[in-house]
C-alpha cells in the first residue's frame, strides 16, 4: 500500500470520531500544515519518476479533496451546533405586547364624501366647492326662491346680519349658481359640503352635510337623471338589486321635481337596503328650472339638465348602521374609534369602495 493510501485510511477513520473544533484543527495542521503529511507528499512530487508522476499526482489530489471536504463539513456542523446552542438561551416571551404604535381614524362623513366622489368621478363629475357663508341671492333668489315665497319657510336660516343679506348656506345648491356664473356649459359637478339650519333636536342638527349634483348640457333629460341616481345608489350601497321610486315633489329651483325613495326592510332592528317593501326617502332632485338658468345667463332653450341634493350624514347612517345623527358632531372618542375608518382605507373604484 502506498503512503498516500495509508494516510487516507488513517485519517478517514480519525475523522469518523466525535471531534471538537480543536481536534479538527489539529488534524488539519497534521495533514496540510507546513510539514503536514499531505503537504510532504506534494513535496515528494519532484522525486517521482516522470512516468508515475501523473498517476501519483491525480491520486494525491483526489485524496486531498476528499479529506478537505470532510473537514469543512465537520467544521460547519460544529458551528451550526454552537449557534443552535446559543439560540436556546436567547428566547423572549413573544406574547408580551409589541412596542406602541399610533392608529388614527377618518370620520364617517369624510369617508362617505370620498366614496361619493369616487363613484361620481367614474361617470365624469368633478368636485366643486363654495363658501359656507353665502349671500341671500345665491342661497335663495337666484335659485328661484324669491323673498315672500313660502318655500323659504322650509329652511330655518342662520343669519349673520340684521338685513338678512349674509347667511349660512341652508343647502349646497348655491354652489350650482357659483359654478354656472363662473363658467360656460356644459357643467357636470358634485358639491359636497357643510350646510346649516337653525333646527336642533334628536333627528336634526344645526349643521349637517349635503352633496349637490348638477349636470347641464344639450339634451340632458329626466332619463339621464334617473340613470345617474340609479347608478349612484347601486354603487354606494354596494348591492346588485335596488328598488328605487321617483315621486313628484316640489323644489323652487327644479321643475319637474322629484323625491327618490329606496326600498328597505327591517331585520333585527337594522335597516337592510335593497330588499323589502318599505320606502325610505333619500334625496331630492329635478330638472333645473329655466328661471335658474336665466339667472346665471345660461340659455334654457339651448341647455338643460338636472340637479340633485342629498344628505351625506344620512347616507352614512344608512350604509354603516349609525342611528344617531347628533353623535356625528359630538366628538366622543370612543364613537370616533368605533365608527371611524382606517386612514389607508381610501375609497376607490378599482379596489372597491369599502373593505
Amino acid at each position: 500500500m502506498s503512503d498516500i493510501i495509508k494516510i487516507k485510511k488513517e485519517y478517514l477513520s480519525k475523522l469518523n470520531n466525535d471531534l471538537d473544533l480543536n481536534n479538527i484543527n489539529q488534524i488539519k495542521s497534521e495533514l496540510f500544515g507546513k510539514s503536514g503529511k499531505i503537504t510532504n507528499q506534494f513535496k515528494k512530487m519532484g522525486s517521482i519518476p516522470a512516468e508515475e508522476r501523473k498517476k501519483f499526482s491525480s491520486e494525491l489530489n483526489l485524496i486531498k479533496d476528499e479529506i478537505q471536504t470532510i473537514i469543512e463539513k465537520k467544521i460547519k456542523d460544529i458551528e451550526i451546533k454552537e449557534i443552535n446552542l446559543k439560540l436556546q438561551n436567547e428566547q423572549v416571551d413573544v406574547t408580551l405586547p409589541e412596542r406602541s404604535f399610533n392608529r388614527g381614524r377618518i370620520h364617517p362623513v369624510s369617508q362617505v364624501i370620498d366614496e361619493i366622489s369616487s363613484i361620481f368621478s367614474e361617470i365624469g363629475f368633478s368636485v366643486a366647492e363654495g363658501p359656507d357663508v353665502e349671500n341671500e341671492y345665491n342661497n335663495f333668489t337666484a335659485l328661484n326662491t324669491p323673498d315672500n315665497h313660502p318655500a323659504r319657510d322650509m329652511h330655518d336660516t342662520f343669519y349673520l346680519d340684521n338685513k338678512k343679506e349674509f347667511l349660512l348656506r341652508t343647502h349646497t345648491s348655491p354652489v350650482q349658481i357659483r359654478t354656472m356664473q363662473e363658467g360656460k356649459p356644459p357643467f357636470k359637478i358634485i358639491a359636497p359640503g357643510r350646510t346649516y339650519r337653525s333646527d336642533s333636536d334628536q333627528t336634526h342638527a344645526p349643521m349637517f352635510h349635503q352633496v349637490e349634483g348638477l349636470h347641464i348640457d344639450k339634451n340632458i333629460n329626466m332619463g339621464h337623471l334617473k340613470g345617474c341616481l340609479n347608478y349612484f345608489i347601486k354603487e354606494f350601497f354596494e348591492v346588485d338589486k335596488i328598488q328605487m321610486r321617483f315621486r313628484p315633489s316640489h323644489f323652487p329651483f327644479t321643475e319637474p321635481s322629484a323625491e327618490v325613495d329606496i326600498g328597505y326592510k327591517l331585520k333585527d332592528g337594522k335597516i337592510i337596503i335593497g330588499e323589502g317593501d318599505n320606502w325610505l326617502e333619500i334625496l331630492g332632485c329635478g330638472m333645473v328650472h329655466p328661471n335658474v338658468l336665466k339667472n346665471v345667463k345660461v340659455d334654457p332653450s339651448k341647455y338643460q339638465g338636472y340637479a340633485f341634493g342629498m344628505g351625506i350624514d344620512r347616507l352614512a347612517m344608512l350604509k354603516y348602521g349609525i342611528n344617531d345623527l347628533r353623535a356625528f358632531f359630538e366628538t366622543d372618542y370612543r364613537w370616533l374609534n368605533h365608527f371611524g375608518f382606517d386612514p389607508l382605507d381610501v375609497p376607490s373604484n378599482y379596489r372597491g369602495l369599502s373593505r
Binding site: E122, S198, G223
Partner: protein
C-alpha cells in the same frame, strides 16, 4: 292636510280601494305621510285571562290575581270582585288608562300592602251597563285567542295625512285632491249642482276696499244671514271635524272650517250686530291694536291689511278675526266673508306678527280667486239648513279683475325634458281633466290655466303636470356613460385629501365639529380676527362662527378627559372664518395630542408629549403632502395661544410671507382657564390655502435621478455656540459651504451644562461629504473639513469644541 277617505268620496266617484287611493296620491305628488285611525282612549282596554287567583294576605274580600295580558306578559292585579276566578276571561285596564265611569286615571298602587298593576273592569266601570256586581265575564270560547287584543274595536275612521308642497295650494281642499286623483285615472270628479238658493233682501252692510298702496285685498264677497239660531253642530259635521283631530265649536264656526277644508275656501263669519256701521278694508296704521280670536292682543305696524269698521280693527284679513265681532251661541245675524288676499301681503304681515293660522297658510299659497261665490253659497246654505235664517243677496266688492294665466305650450317640450313620448291626445286629456282650457294650434297648445293653480306660469310647469299625472315610473333609465373629460379634484382638493389622511395616519382621530363656537372659548384663539356673530344662534354657547378650530377641539378634549379617557389625539380639517362675507374663510387642519407617550408601557419609557412630537407630525404630514423639507424655514413667531417658548412657525421657504403651519405646546393659561386635566397638551395647525402651488407635478419631479457611487465620508463636529443661536442657521451655514459636496448635516447631540460656559450650548453634528465626480482623497477631505470649521466660526461666532 288631513282627511278621511269617505270625505274624499263626496267629491270622487271611485272604484279603487283605500290602499290603491293611498298609492295613487303618493304617485302624483301628494305624499301620504300616514294613514291610520286617530288614537282613542278606548284603545287601552285589553282582553285578559286570570291564570291564578288567591286570597289577598291582608283582606278577606280581595283576591290577588295573576293575569295574562297577552304578548307573553303576566301582571299581578288586586281585585275585589267575587267572581275573580282562575281561567276567567275579562277586561284589563293597565296603569295610565282612563276609567270611563269615574274619569280617573289608573296608577300603580298598593292595596292593603300588595302592589296592583292595573285593574280588572266591571261593565259599569266601562259604562257598558249598570252591572257592577263583578268583573266582566267574557265567553271563553269567543275570547280564547283574543288575549292581549283591544276589547273595544276602534270605530273612528282612518285618517289620511298628506304633505302638500308649497306650490299646491289647490290641494289644501278635498275638492282639489279629488280633481288630481280623477285626472290620474282614479275615478271621476263629482259635479256639484249648485243648490237653488232663495235670496232674501240685499246685503245692506256697506263694504269698502280702500285704494291704499299695496292694498292686500282685491275682492271682498259677503252675504248676510239674518235670524239664525247658532247651535251645536249636528253629528255628521262634528264627526268630520273630530276625525281630523279638531274640536267642534259651534255650527257657524264648524261650517266655515268645513268649507275651508272641503273647497280650500277660507271664510269668516262676523256677528253682524257688532259691526259699527260699514266694513272698511284698508291698510293698518302703526300702533293700532285688536284682540284676536286666539285671545291675544296684537299691536300692528303700518300697511297690514285689516278688516275694520268705524270703531277700529275687526281682524287681520285672511289671517285671523277679532273677538269684538266674533260669533257666539246667541248670535242672531251674521255677515259671512269670502275674500281674496294677496299672498305677499299675508306673508309679510304674518311674519312680522309671528302668526300661523289655517287661513293664513292657504292665502299665502294662493286661493282660487273665483271660488268666492261657491264658498259663500255652500256655507250659507248649510248655515240656513242647520241654524235657520234668511240669506241676503251676495255682495262682491272688487278692486282688481282676475285674469287667468295664458301659456303657449310647445308639445315637443314634454319629450325634450322627460325623454319619453306621450301622445298629443293623451296630453290634452290630462290637461283637460286638470281644468285647463285648450286650443290646439299645430305644434302648440294654447292653454288657459285654471284659476286655482297660481303656481303654473310657464311651459315647464305644464311638463311637470303631465309627467306627474302620467307617472314618474314611465321615465326611462338612461345608463350613464363612463367618460371623464375633466379631473375630479383640483390641486387644493387633492391637498385636502392628502393632509386629511396623512394627519390621521399619525394616530389622530378625525372629528367634525360645528362651524360655530362659544364666544368665551373662541376669544382664547381669536387673536386679532373679527368676531363673526350669528344673529339667531341655536343657543348662546354657539353664537359665533369659529375663528379657529381649536375652540371646539379643546372643548371636546375636555369632555373626553372628563369621561376618564386619557392620551387623546384629535384633529379636524375644515373652515375657519374671518368675516361675515362669502369667501372670508379658509381651510385649516387643526390637531391636538394630550397626555403621555407610552403610558404604562413595559418596554418603553413613558414621557409627556412635547413640542417635538408636534413638530414631527406636522413636518411629516407636510412632506407627505408634497412639500420640500429642505426649503422649510422655521421661526418662533406664533399666535398667543401657543406656549411662547415651546412652539414654532413653519414657512414653505425663506421667502414666504405667511407660515403654512404652527406647532407647539398650547399656552398653559388655556389649560388652566378651561381646567383641562392632562399632563401635557400639544397642538399644530396647517393652513391649506397658504400652501403655494407646487411648481412641478410629481411626474416631472421623478424624472431626474442623480446619485453617486463614489465613496462618502462622515465627519463629526462639535461647536460651542450662543444658546440663542438657532440650529437651523448652523445647518444652513454648513450646507451652503458647498452644496455639491455636503450631502447631509445631521444633529446628533445637544449639550448644555458642565464644562460649557453659561449662555452657550454645544451642538454636535455629523456631516456627510460625497462627490458626484470622484472619490475624495485625504487632502480634499481635510480641505473641506477646515473650511467647515472656519466658515462656521466666522459666520456664527461659534468655536469648535476641542
Amino acid at each position: 292636510m288631513k282627511f278621511t277617505i269617505d270625505w274624499l268620496k263626496e267629491h270622487l266617484d271611485t272604484k279603487l280601494n283605500d290602499q290603491m287611493i293611498i298609492d295613487k296620491l303618493t304617485n302624483i305628488g301628494l305624499e301620504v305621510e300616514s294613514f291610520e285611525s286617530q288614537q282613542s282612549e278606548f284603545d287601552q282596554f285589553i282582553v285578559a285571562k286570570i291564570i291564578n287567583a288567591e286570597k289577598h294576605p291582608n283582606a278577606d274580600r280581595l283576591s290577588l290575581c295573576d293575569v295574562d295580558i297577552g304578548h307573553g306578559k303576566m301582571v299581578k292585579v288586586v281585585c275585589g270582585a267575587p267572581n275573580a276566578k282562575k281561567n276567567l276571561y275579562t277586561v284589563y285596564a293597565p296603569p295610565g288608562a282612563l276609567i270611563p265611569s269615574s274619569q280617573t286615571k289608573l296608577s300603580v298602587s298598593k292595596i292593603r300592602g300588595v302592589t296592583s298593576y292595573g285593574m280588572l273592569c266591571s261593565e259599569s266601570e266601562l259604562k257598558l251597563s249598570n252591572e257592577s256586581e263583578g268583573i266582566i265575564d267574557l265567553p271563553s270560547k269567543k275570547y280564547t285567542r283574543k288575549v292581549g287584543k283591544n276589547y273595544f274595536v276602534n270605530k273612528s275612521p282612518k285618517v289620511v295625512d298628506i304633505s302638500i308642497t308649497p306650490n299646491r295650494a289647490d290641494c289644501l281642499g278635498l275638492k282639489g285632491i279629488a280633481r288630481d286623483l280623477a285626472a290620474a285615472g282614479a275615478g271621476k270628479l263629482k259635479k256639484k249642482y249648485e243648490n237653488k238658493i232663495k235670496f232674501k233682501g240685499s246685503q245692506n252692510i256697506k263694504v269698502k276696499i280702500t285704494n291704499d298702496k299695496n292694498q292686500g285685498c282685491t275682492v271682498f264677497g259677503s252675504c248676510l244671514i239674518k235670524g239664525i239660531k247658532n247651535t251645536e253642530s249636528p253629528k255628521w259635521l262634528k264627526d268630520k271635524i273630530l276625525s281630523l283631530g279638531q274640536k267642534p265649536i259651534s255650527a257657524v264656526v264648524d261650517i266655515t272650517n268645513y268649507i275651508m277644508l272641503d273647497l280650500n275656501r277660507p271664510l269668516h263669519a262676523y256677528d253682524a250686530d257688532k259691526i259699527d256701521q260699514g266694513i272698511i278694508v284698508r291698510n293698518s296704521n302703526k300702533g293700532e291694536s285688536f284682540e284676536a280670536l286666539d285671545n291675544k292682543k296684537y299691536i300692528l305696524e303700518d300697511n297690514m291689511c285689516v278688516i275694520s269698521d268705524k270703531s277700529g280693527v275687526l281682524g287681520l284679513g285672511g289671517i285671523i278675526g277679532g273677538t269684538r265681532s266674533g260669533t257666539e251661541k246667541d248670535t242672531k245675524n251674521i255677515l259671512l266673508e269670502s275674500a281674496y288676499f294677496e299672498p305677499k301681503s299675508i306673508r309679510s304681515t304674518s311674519k312680522i306678527l309671528n302668526l300661523e293660522t289655517d287661513a293664513k297658510y292657504r292665502f299665502e299659497r294662493g286661493i282660487d280667486p273665483n271660488s268666492i261665490n261657491e264658498g259663500l253659497i255652500k256655507a250659507a246654505t248649510l248655515i240656513q239648513k242647520i241654524c235657520g235664517g234668511s240669506i241676503s243677496k251676495i255682495d262682491v266688492s272688487k278692486r282688481k279683475k282676475f285674469n287667468n294665466t295664458l301659456i303657449k305650450f310647445p308639445i315637443d317640450l314634454f319629450q325634450k325634458i322627460t325623454g319619453f313620448k306621450v301622445s298629443d291626445k293623451e296630453i290634452v286629456k290630462i290637461l283637460l281633466d286638470l281644468g285647463f282650457l285648450i286650443k290646439k294650434n299645430k305644434k302648440d297648445l294654447n292653454l288657459t290655466v285654471p284659476s286655482w293653480r297660481p303656481d303654473i306660469t310657464q311651459p315647464i310647469d305644464i311638463v311637470e303636470e303631465i309627467v306627474r299625472i302620467k307617472g314618474y315610473d314611465q321615465i326611462k333609465t338612461e345608463t350613464p356613460e363612463k367618460v371623464r373629460n375633466k379631473q375630479t379634484l383640483n390641486s387644493q382638493q387633492k391637498l385636502f385629501h392628502f393632509l386629511q389622511r396623512s394627519v390621521a395616519s399619525k394616530g389622530y382621530y378625525e372629528t367634525v365639529t360645528w362651524s360655530f363656537a362659544d364666544t368665551k372659548i373662541n376669544d382664547m384663539f381669536k387673536e386679532d380676527k373679527n368676531e363673526v356673530r350669528i344673529v339667531n344662534p341655536i343657543s348662546s354657547d354657539l353664537n359665533v362662527l369659529r375663528n379657529s378650530i381649536f375652540s371646539n377641539l379643546v372643548f371636546y378634549l375636555k369632555k373626553n378627559l372628563d369621561r376618564d379617557l386619557t392620551d387623546i389625539s384629535l384633529f379636524e380639517i375644515g373652515p375657519v372664518f374671518s368675516g361675515k362675507k362669502p369667501g372670508q374663510q379658509e381651510i385649516v387642519v387643526a390637531a391636538l395630542r394630550s397626555g403621555m407617550v407610552s403610558r404604562l408601557n413595559w418596554i418603553e419609557k413613558e414621557r409627556k408629549v412635547d413640542v417635538f412630537d408636534a413638530k414631527r407630525d406636522v413636518i411629516q404630514s407636510l412632506i407627505e403632502a408634497g412639500l420640500d423639507q429642505k426649503k422649510f424655514h422655521i421661526n418662533s413667531k406664533v399666535p398667543n395661544y401657543y406656549h411662547p417658548g415651546k412652539s414654532g412657525a413653519i414657512y414653505q421657504d425663506t421667502y414666504s410671507n405667511y407660515p403654512v403651519a404652527f406647532f407647539g405646546e398650547i399656552h398653559p393659561n388655556i389649560i388652566q382657564n378651561l381646567n383641562i386635566k392632562t399632563e401635557a397638551l400639544i397642538i399644530f395647525e396647517i393652513f391649506l390655502n397658504k400652501i403655494g402651488q407646487f411648481k412641478n407635478k410629481l411626474k416631472d419631479q421623478k424624472k431626474k435621478y442623480e446619485y453617486s457611487d463614489f465613496q462618502k465620508s462622515e465627519r463629526d463636529f462639535a461647536f460651542i455656540i450662543d444658546k440663542n443661536f438657532k440650529v437651523q442657521e448652523l445647518v444652513k451655514i454648513i450646507s451652503e459651504i458647498d452644496e455639491k459636496l455636503i450631502r447631509n448635516v445631521k444633529i446628533f447631540d445637544l449639550y448644555e451644562g458642565e464644562n460649557i460656559p453659561e449662555n452657550k450650548k454645544s451642538v454636535a453634528l455629523s456631516v456627510t461629504i460625497q462627490s458626484l465626480d470622484k472619490s475624495l482623497n485625504d487632502q480634499d477631505l481635510e480641505k473641506i473639513n477646515n473650511l467647515i470649521i472656519s466658515t462656521v466660526e466666522s459666520k456664527s461666532g461659534a468655536k469648535i469644541r476641542s
